[in-house]
Symmetry: C2
Subunit: 338 residues, 2 copies
DNA sequence: CTGTTAGCGCCTTCAT
DNA sequence: ATGAAGGCGCTAACAG
């Protein structure tokens, strides 16, 4: 059996004082403690190796010092970066992160939210799967501080931190056009109702619409679709008549990886036969010949800001929601050279 | 202010029964509940949107359903994979993960361990920074179930799940030799006292020692060392006299990335001028020409096994410690072609 | 089958 | 400056 740790009572007894005094000591109310008692408590705590129970502390109705983090996909570098930034902030402020991965699944997201709330987390950072569940709604009503990351949830008005997708989508498209690519295939994961995907795509369409000399198409990658289907779609795009230069615009790092793989299989050379630009900077973007141009997101900053905002909101509950849209950075490499 | 959720008392009142009955209902003791009461409780719970407080539940002296995960570096794909595997298992069993990142820092690790224990986690999965702290010791004494991942902590006897580093190190070295590389530079992050690093390195040295026709060297990458230093060291290695074929053996994915970058800067071609083999399979291993041979770790499996073992130990506290050493898989690509 | 009664470890009035 | 008492939400004997 696990040794049960010393409690506040043990310390009190050992120091010959009351629980109250020990509690006061723990809360740092030194002004109301005689030096004598303070030192006795200090000694007892050390001797007994006493550590206050956050569980009990939290029960009393407040400060659990817990932050819930719901992530759409832990295996995605983007999520990881968020995680990283958020964890750092929490740790620095004495908060601990409770992590749940939803794998972009609505049911799991709902379950995660329930779990987290049952532990009385003081706030939530949510990288939602996108579809607005009833759950999100009464999450709001519960008045629990929430910061959304990357993806909006329609109907829910809370703080949001993420990339300025419109600006980024525009910048990416414009870059391709400027480099002479006038026939662009936008490849994205299922847009569903994921706001960030929608926004990027919309920006792409709008930018293109203003350029009658250019042509744009969209390819949604079905989740379970095999490589063959992708190869087929790409081949079709490439074989379409026209002397215009062709390029692929990948809507996320996940897509970029798939595209690079596919281009390899098809034996297409970048950027001669087809240009390539992808959202999300990846560790290997510069390694793959001829270097992949990317639209980098300030991921760590997003995580950092999300956590910082959340802690602010916890400290001083306000009622005005803000959106913090951070700018993306275009990193030009060989894959989009003229 | 946050709306305070309904408590077990509210449900009891609403259903016109005692707290005990509600508690029984929650614990699934249906055998001792009349259908009538059960349904009334069910209805009240639904009506009030009641969710039991895990905090309070945990306080009562047991089951917090919390698992602590201490990770050496969240930004490392290896750690992420572990995280992923572990999270899945925990979620499936109704446990929630409390995550702490230590950034390979001893002080932060100690702090993380303290935090986690103060929340009465039922068990701990630890990817340690390596150095045995006093903290780890009384962690053991506390009898809290612990599973170490990847890295042993000297003096601490607990369950361990990780790669079979000896086998892997041998396999990697043998492969290089078989492919005709007889002059091998082993490049590693600071070995310090990190067991996995030591073991891989030792395996390298031993394997090489049995081959008088081969030569081996070791390069430890200092953490703060700049690119220039690495380039310099590599250049020196390359320029050493001898007609033997040269190769680099990267002790981890982090190192592999640095090496590929350095080789680029130096303009060295792989595998003609120098071969390359790296521990850890990365998403881009096959993308970088001519494809990087790797010694892949079963990362997800490691996370999965670690969590599974931990839950087992929580369920049935035993006292015999096991080590689960999983085999690595050699993935041969162009970087080590003959 | 069901309810009453104690706590779990801590914080917080309220006295002293 | 210090302590006693009550209660946070829940579970676990112990009665009926």
């Amino acid at each position: 059996m696990r040794d049960s740790r010393a409690t506040i009572m043990d310390v009190a007894r050992d120091a010959g004082v009351s629980k109250t005094s020990v509690s006061r000591y723990l809360s740092g109310e030194f002004k109301v403690l005689s030096d004598d008692i303070r030192q006795r408590i200090e000694a007892s705590i050390a001797r007994l190796g006493y550590r206050p129970s956050q569980m009990a502390r939290g029960l009393k109705g407040g400060r659990t010092r817990l932050i819930g983090l719901v992530v759409a996909d832990v295996m995605n570098p983007y999520s990881v970066a968020i995680l990283h930034g958020a964890e750092a902030v929490c740790q620095q402020h004495g908060y601990t992160l409770m992590l749940c991965n939803t794998g972009n699944d609505e049911a799991r997201e709902k379950q995660a939210l329930t779990m987290l709330r049952s532990y009385d987390v003081e706030g939530l950072i949510v990288h939602s799967q996108g579809r607005p569940s009833r759950f999100m709604y009464d999450l709001l009503e519960s008045n629990l501080p929430v910061v959304l990351v990357d993806r909006r949830v329609s109907g829910i008005e809370v703080d949001l931190v993420g990339l300025d997708n419109r600006q980024a989508g525009r910048a990416a498209t414009v870059h391709l056009i400027e480099r002479g690519f006038t026939d662009i295939l936008y490849v994205t994961q299922p847009i569903r109702a994921v706001s960030s995907r929608e926004e990027r795509h919309t920006a792409f369409l709008e930018t293109l619409a203003a350029r009658p000399d250019c042509r744009g198409e969209t390819l949604e990658l079905a989740a379970l679709e095999g490589d063959a289907a992708l190869d087929h779609a790409l081949a079709a795009f490439m074989s379409r008549a026209g002397t215009q230069r062709k390029a692929l615009l990948a809507a996320s790092g996940v897509v970029t990886l798939q595209l690079v793989l596919a281009l390899r299989r098809l034996g297409l050379t970048v950027p001669q036969q087809v240009g390539l630009l992808g959202f999300d900077e990846l560790s290997w973007s510069k390694l793959v010949e001829p270097g992949i141009s990317t639209l980098a997101q300030p991921t760590d900053e997003i995580g950092f800001q999300a956590a910082t905002r959340l802690l602010e909101r916890i400290a001083t509950p306000g009622h005005d929601h803000h959106e913090l849209l951070l700018p993306g950075t275009l990193i030009v490499r060989g894959s989009t050279s003229a």
